[in-house]
Amino acid sequence: MMTTHPAPVPADPSAEAPLLRIRDLHVTFTSRTSQVHAVRGADLTIYPGQTVAIVGESGSGKSTTAHAIIDLLPGGGKVTGGSIEFDGEDLTKAPPRRFVRLRGSQIGLVPQDPMSNLNPVYRIGSQVREALRANGIDVSRSSYRALVAELGEDAVADTPDARLYLGSAERRALLACLAGRGIETAAVADKLVVGFTTRVEVAILLRGMGLDDAEALAERFVTGTGARDRVAGLLAEAGLPDAERRARQFPHEFSGGMRQRTLIAIALAARPTLLIADEPTSALDVTVQRQILDHLGVLTRELGTAVLFITHDLGLAAERAEHLVVMYQGKVVESGPSLDILANPAHPYTRRLVASAPSLAYQRIQVAKTTGEDAAEAPASTDGERSAERPGVLQVSELTKVFEIRGSRPGRATQFTAVDDVSFTLRRGTTLALVGESGSGKSTVANMVLGLVKPTAGRIVFDDVDTSGLSRRELFAFRRRVQPVFQDPYGSLDPMYSIYRIIEEPLRTHRVGTKAEREARVRELLDKVALPASTMRRYPNELSGGQLQRVAVARALALNPEVVVCDEAVSALDVLVQAQVLDLLAQLQSELTLSYLFITHDLAVVRQIADEVAVMQTGRIVEHATTNAVFDTPQTDYTRQLLDAIPGGKLNLGH
């Protein structure tokens, strides 16, 4: 459907009036104790139908700029300077009532986190219907801007009745009528979408089937929908399968991808001219991310909607937008056509961003080369050789985990196989990446390796000892040698503990050293992860995500483990911070001969850290080879899909 190349820029954008023009925007957050200038002089122009991306790390002011446009700044935030001109109107001077009318109907918003952006207590359909009702939309007729243009000279298309939607009862009647004439309806049934297909489209479809009375049939059977059918149509348009039934479900019954499609349907329900997409897919798996962005691209192009796309991923931005705006510390540091910026970044920050974008990285971080030590012993040869000659430290064989799911009443429990016959060997001093989408069972494997979840079947052999037979005391000793680093540093470090206490806790639990020795060790660990010793008096809420993840690494290393299980350890971090943490992990590996079991959904990261890759799908390992082999010659379709989904992977930057 969609090509991976950005659509051509309008021949001469300056000939058209801009849809949105932000000039020298300043936004300040005021609290009782402080003032923060989140945005300090942002400039941005979007022409009708154009896609522009704002790229920047968290705290760069990109989301704040977007929220300022529709007056959705969180408490204490205020526009303190500059102008936001939308369709010629300065929004910084508009009263709140004006925004109520603009929102939804003129400017739509696709928010960041699909899990928290739908009201959990209302059905999906009613949340979409709300968007239609709030903006006074005629649900029976299409306001498909591009429809008339698409159909060209076909004069029929231009009458209001031609834009009536097909209703669900009418669809059944039409199919019955066709079946009555002995026409095979299976093929056409898929194309007749309730609340989405219009009268003129039905007519064209029927004509294509060779029916002479196509127009008459369309006129008889397509007489406009009610709100419920239109909601189903909108959801179907956003790519939700089985939309009529799904509309009656609640958000918690939807996956993240389905929720994001719902939010897209809501944002586009009233056909706005500008769509603000605020990190719309950051919380989703790469393959789902790709599908949704492809779909969003097609939709907005057909509807002629301009898109302001906000992301921290440079590769993604370059792939999806014609024009890039790079923000750093509240300022726009660079803007221009996407490929120009990628190829010739002018600002130092952009250069760093291009250099560390994981989606654009092409090889494993080679520490031995740069530090110069152990160059002979750990040759920077190809990763395959590197790992093959090392002894295994952790062997997992035929590992299976079956969960029991409670049924509606006793005796109705069902079984769910989360991990199915998984075997691999982690060699000493190397990294094995376990890659898969959410639900593939990779985290369950990690939990079993850590001894947190008991396997249903199979063996985990650590240093030639089967861990299933360990006594409590042996398990305690085993935990000392295998340590975890988890995804969310905010959630996995106790907020009531000081950093010192967090890092010292494992030492105290395992009765290592005296108090003075433990303090010395904490200092040493902080130094290893490149944090100042003064950090230990601070608390988790005072540190950034990247700093916290360094603390988590220091905590994991406190007991000198041999294996570190990194469960999505860098997935929640900004690209630059991610690159720093990955560098740190690589460096520590070469210094301490650590072995990493690296769990991630992000293949782009894998390339930078892993020696071997095992790809998991629905609980099984479908492909297992060296990193280069997996990237260069993927063996299964699933792996190829995952590789294709890496944003920006296709952009050629001449590396």
Binding site: V100, R103, L109, P111, D113, S116, N117, L118, P120, V121
Partner: protein
């Protein structure tokens, strides 16, 4: 859901038996002879006393007494009070007043608590918020009987806006002041609970999304913020019905309401075991049922909750 309700009702059986057993035991162990008080100052003649004892099974061992009582309950017979009145009759006169009072208090606590909590939660840090927080803290801190007497004196005696006591005059106006006093503490909790929930939900992502859809502020507040904030509040209010009915002893005493609280107090003073146990048993049943209803209501309010 049907299975869940069935299981909960089954669980109510041991709760019911355990509660009645403990109550019966406590009343049995109470010092004093119930028969002694029945014949006035002179005391009963020994023959009369022993006749009364055997009539009320007081000469039997404790377990037999208890089992006879339960047997009566299961056949719908609450027994007879020592005064000779059927206990079912005592219940029939005491409960309607208390139910009226408790429902009125419940309505007051819900309406005032939720409205004030909503406003305070939306304008957190404002003057209104600060005022209601201090007032509600005061209401929670001051004992009910102090509140009751002060209200009675100021509103009933000095200003004469409302009747001072209830007695036989169980009208809406008469019950209004006791209901407010009874609702006081719960009202303060409902207010604070609503305020916290509203403040939390007001900054939720889905509320921002609702605003971005183009909804008016009023609709965002009522449909999204308030509706979601009511989930914990309604759970609290529902569970509070039992507390209000059982906890009305002090309030009923101050305003002379002839309800469960007053009757129970008198029965305890007189050592009327069967009457005390019967009145409290019904309270226990009310608790069990309201708690079950609250759990069911909770699942209806929040579709994410599934009972299996």
């Amino acid at each position: 859901m049907g299975w869940y309700v069935g299981r909960r009702l089954l669980q109510a059986i041991p709760v019911f038996l355990g509660a009645t057993f403990l109550l019966y035991l406590m009343v049995f162990l109470m010092p004093g002879d119930p028969v002694a008080g029945l014949c006035g100052d002179r005391g009963c003649a020994p023959a009369v006393a022993s006749a009364l004892r055997s009539q009320y099974h007081l000469d039997q061992p404790f377990l037999v007494q208890y089992l006879l009582y339960v047997k009566g309950l299961l056949t719908g017979d609450f027994g007879t009070a020592y005064s000779g009145r059927a206990i079912s009759e005592v219940i029939a006169t005491a409960y309607p007043v208390t139910v009226k009072l408790a429902l009125l208090a419940l309505a007051i606590e819900a309406v005032f608590g939720i409205v004030a909590g909503l406003i305070a939660g939306l304008r957190r840090g404002g003057v209104f918020d600060g005022t209601v927080l201090v007032v509600s803290l005061l209401v929670i801190a001051v004992p009910t009987f102090v509140m009751g007497f002060v209200a009675q004196f100021v509103i009933g005696v000095k200003l004469a806006w409302l009747p001072t006591t209830v007695g036989g005059n169980q009208t809406f106006t008469a019950l209004l002041m006791p209901a407010f006093v009874l609702a006081g503490v719960s009202l303060a909790y409902v207010l604070r609970l609503t305020r916290t929930a509203v403040a939390e939900n007001a900054s939720a992502d889905y509320v921002r999304t609702a605003t971005a859809k183009g909804l008016t502020r009023r609709r965002v507040v009522v449909v999204h913020i308030l509706r979601n904030s009511l989930i914990p509040v309604i759970t609290f209010i529902g569970a509070d019905l039992g507390v209000l009915m059982g906890g009305a002893i002090v309030t009923e005493g101050i305003f002379a309401v002839p309800g469960v609280g007053n009757t129970l107090y008198q029965a305890i003073l007189k050592g009327e075991g069967p009457t005390v146990v019967s009145l409290v048993t019904i309270l226990v049943i009310v608790f069990i049922i309201t708690n079950l209803l609250v759990d069911v209501l909770y699942a209806l309010l929040d579709p994410r909750i599934r009972y299996v």
